[in-house]
Symmetry: C5
Subunit: 325 residues, 5 copies
């Protein structure tokens, strides 16, 4: 579905009906700097074929833009640049990282964005960009920058959400209660791995954007891409740190299990000892000797019960003091 | 065994009897672009010697094509390019990754594929390729691309099957039942290592194909090889993630064993405590004091049994409530 | 807030009122080598906008200088160099590593330092530098060097403080007492990770400073930056070693828990055995056989109690000797 | 000891008495391509000094050839190339990897091999090489290739033997019996580390041989060295995989120990429970109540014993069913 | 303190009083190749200032030579090369690795060695070098080589001592006795880390020495530095292997603790079972049934005791046979 489409001249929007679009006229004209930005959301094959024919896009790139499971990458073709980015967002309800994809076809006088999946809205990117006329003056590269910038901003939000999750897991691991953090840590590790797979392959291409090493990217726009590259690097480092922290938290969780097992064992043993003393006393007075003075005492029975109670209380205090109970 | 053999002119097949093959005629001709594609499956040494003599293949490469345990590699010789790929497929019955090998001799006017092991069928590759005339126009490189593409597609299938296996193991590790996942995780790690050994050494050569850095690979075909290189990179990343997930799942499995041991210990201890209280009561009324009023009660025995039962039920409830039972 | 501002000529300070600052006059003059050093501490946006307009700073760099969570980096712009450093200091009270940020705008005839957060005082850097006239002769690069040097010196202090903490944890892990080091090691790992994130990204840019690969950095000052680069490398290596030691200390801590659990189990078992022998003796003399000579002994009861005591003492000694108690 | 010595002309052997060797005559001659191959086995210092004087070998290289603990390396000197290789072989009796050393001095018209330790026989290398006249035509490089090829073939054998050992350990770890695999895995890890130290440093120099980047190595022989480089790479990958598998097998072994401990504990607990029930029944009928009907039954004793037996059998079945016994 | 000082001409020593040293005369002379070697041991600041003034050393390098905790490094200055090496030696008494430092100032006609800490004696280096006149002919570089060679030889000794320690720990871990190896392994890991920090940063600069990439190092001396570089690489590999072995030994130690805990538990349980059977028998004959034939037997008591003894012996044998005792 074509979400929006417009021609930009001198940084100002000039509405455009895709049905009546005549690229030849645009290209034959002397106004260099004019360019078309067409935004699509989950187009079907037929629609994409029409767009592809209009701008003579390379079939391999078109295919990649339609399937939503590409690796993030930047590929120069003869007359265009093809960029694939994973979009990431954090589903608060499901406490999960969700992924989508944005493909960008970047030519001399056009830029086409193809979005797969929900999440990041490119409409707001367009609105923001139209408000910054001097940026639009960089031509199609400005659109690529704005899209990358927004997507990478979302990476930072996702990384921040994961940082919160790791903080929670940490608090849980070190809380005095017994907690079942194994699965939670595992799921977080899995999400961290997913974010890493979206972010890591972008580091190198964004650096190359930042040095204006790609065609159709004017050198003056390189500072902006350097800003994006910087954010990608920062997210990447945060993610590596989170991964390391999760591993350490897991080890700490294991240590806690061991410590708790030890505490349980000592607590159990202490109670067993208290019961054993009672049983021993009962056993002693259950012996059948003829000459056992206590057996004939008036309050021998009370004495025996008292002995049991006292030794139990005594042991209880000893164990309490030594930390076993 | 020679499976199929044909000469291609302008992207169209021209059948060819290998017995009557006269390379001199082909080469003396003025039709540049003609090339022969000969497909062999597990040829014996004698057959391979004949083919080798016909196309003047280098003996070291011929030897490598016959033994099925080569490293994946791309080796330029003076007048040809020698490519070795591991084929991978997933044996559903045995839940195992199987490996084979395809060797490709790529010359100016010929391409020879030598397959070892079952699995990937190159006949279907040939059929698909013959249907895409424009691709065949790239010459022998088109065949190399088509074979690589098919084999790497199989890598993706294998990786997907392993992803399913890892998901199953994950579910098993975190299921409430007691599971014996140690061996299963180990076997999966082993298979992941096997896939890595097939995929990892291909990353660099495929990148070089993608930049048309090899002879006999026309620059226009580089986009296609870039697509293959991209798939290899994606499989490689998936495999690394799976490896990491398996390690984490193993640690989680270990944590589960510890937790279960702790739970068992507490359950056992609770029952021991219940039995100990009964024994203690029995011991008390087994004492031989002269003056124990209960012993003379009419229902003293019932009282004692009731005391045992009540204290057992009481303890049972306490343990149930605190989660020990 | 502008903390201090001055013009330096031939390495000597010449006070300057920022309100009346006239850069044009400075620049039109023939005295090359004059430069302004303006130091700001947590300026608000309006203040920063004024400064930015005065020196024509790049808006992306200005934005980065205002938000306190940038990655350490060195970014060349057309007419200036932008440096971001994390400041680190060790809060003795809270036993924690705190972080701040210093951004440096380095031009031909000006240097602006923007500090975020408490901690490192740049006023003393200025005082020290003004006392070393020959250094100031290097121009704005001297200020950059002095600031980097001070900040990296602080890294070394923080690393030393962490080394002390690791030594303490080590002593605690291997002390004969039972210690709860899990959380402490975790927190230290987290702080080590924070220091690594501040230090690691600086290694490469400082190396480049050391080879005078940046503009506005005279070649003669490269030895000084090499000294800084060397300190950064040293801190980085110390941090890696600490990280490794913490991991090993954690494993050692786990091993201690296991060993202690084993010791507890043996101690408990020994006491259970001692109690069991008493109970067994009591049980034996509680049997109802007609013909049990001891039962009729005058001191049979004392004999039984003595038997219990002796066997208990005997067992106690045996266990003491074998190290179970 | 000089094992064998010969001059080769046009790939054919011409016997040569080392005592009467006159290099000047050889060198003054017009027959380029003639070269001497002298093979030594553990020569003493005096012998080596004579050889060294004859061919003017560099003293540092001579020293390295005499001590048997060098790193594998390739070092170009002004007028020769010095190669050190570790030889590896698997001692079946002792189930151990043994190491030796071969040093090769490679000049324009001579090649000297100095072997330390037992194991690989270079006599058979010479015999094989003399049967392949076309190879000998490459001159001294052919000898270097043949020796490297043989040694690296031995690496593959050692790697295969280690693979078998790892398979055995694996089978042992996952066998239902209780096994003590800790030490065996440790020893294997140690041997894998030894092989790695022999193989890893060779990867880069063999690659350089393969690109004919060294002097005295004709470009036409590069395909042969590429074959060797390929084998080195394969062994290196096998070794990395084995190392990883051993680590995983060790973890699996640890998991097994935990699981077995758990099983033991449950088995023990089950038997304790069975005994406790018997003791409880005995305790009940040992109580001294006046009114306990069972005590006066004719078959009360049998009833009590039966009660014990039945409850034991019942508990035994319960535990058997739940897998505790 | 100036330990020794001399001028060398054509490889021969010419004594020299530092007080009367006149560099101008030396430099004005036509005898190129003359150079001064001054050796200092822990000089104070004043002494160092005098030497520094005499040879015009760079203040940053001088400062580094005085503080004993520098990173190993090689820094070219305009008119000299500054080398810092860590010295390592093994204190047999304390079983510890000790560290010191040697700084080398290398100029065209002088070389100054500044040693911090005890350990390596440079006097013997000087004596050895003076005996090898051809080496001294390389000028100041010969001194640098000789010092590096000696220090790196010491690294090898330290590595060998650590290898012995690791062998001991290994033997201890796998000995049948119960050992407390945790702390020992930890301390060894720490020492290995210290050696690594001394050795690792030297690899690259020594390689550069070996390719004569530094000033004041004649190309003919490169073979000698290559020898040093080779030793550094070997030590570095040994250290990596030791680190890996220590980690594995630690894991094996952990596994042993688990296995021992399991054995203890089984041993304890067996004894508990033996005691339980005695208690059960005693309990049975303590029951108060009217009709219990054994109670009236003449030797009933002996029978009961015999039953206890027999069942205990029987159980003991069963446990012995199954390996629990």
């Amino acid at each position: 579905m074509i979400v929006d489409s417009a021609c930009y001249r001198d940084g100002r929007r000039q509405p455009l009906e895709p049905e009546t679009l005549d690229l030849t006229r645009l290209r034959s004209g002397e106004q260099t700097g004019d360019f078309i930005w067409m935004g699509l959301h989950e187009p079907d094959a037929a629609e994409m074929r029409r767009v592809s024919a209009m701008f003579q896009l390379h079939p391999l790139a078109v295919e990649d833009s339609l399937t939503g499971h590409q690796r993030p990458k930047v590929e120069p073709y003869d007359d265009m640049l093809f960029v694939v980015l994973k979009t990431l967002w954090y589903d608060e309800q499901r406490d999960e990282v969700e992924t989508g994809q944005v493909a960008i076809f970047l030519g001399r006088d056009f830029v086409i964005t193809v979005r797969q999946g929900a999440g990041v809205s490119l409409a707001s990117v367009r609105a923001d960009l139209e408000a910054r006329q001097h940026l639009l003056g960089f031509g199609p590269a400005a659109v690529a920058y704005a899209v990358c910038d927004r997507i990478v901003d979302n990476y930072e939000e996702v990384a921040a959400a994961l940082e919160d999750d790791v903080d929670e897991v940490e608090a849980s691991v070190f809380s005095p209660e017994r907690t079942q953090d194994t699965q939670r840590i595992y799921v977080l590790k899995r999400e961290v791995a997913e974010v890493r797979r979206a972010v890591q392959p972008l580091r190198m291409p964004m650096q190359r954007f930042a040095t204006a090493a790609y065609p159709f990217v004017p050198a003056e726009s390189s500072h902006f891409f350097r800003d994006v590259a910087d954010h990608v690097a920062r997210v990447s480092e945060v993610i590596e740190t989170l991964d390391m922290l999760l591993s350490t938290a897991f080890d700490a969780h294991l240590a806690r299990i061991s410590v708790q097992q030890n505490e349980d064992m000592r607590k159990i043993s202490a109670w067993v000892a208290i019961a054993a003393v009672g049983t021993l006393v009962a056993g002693i007075y259950g012996m059948n000797f003829e000459h056992m003075p206590e057996l004939h005492w008036r309050y021998g029975y009370a004495w025996a019960l008292g002995l049991m109670a006292c030794s139990s209380v005594f042991l209880y205090r000893v164990f309490k003091h030594s930390g076993w109970l």
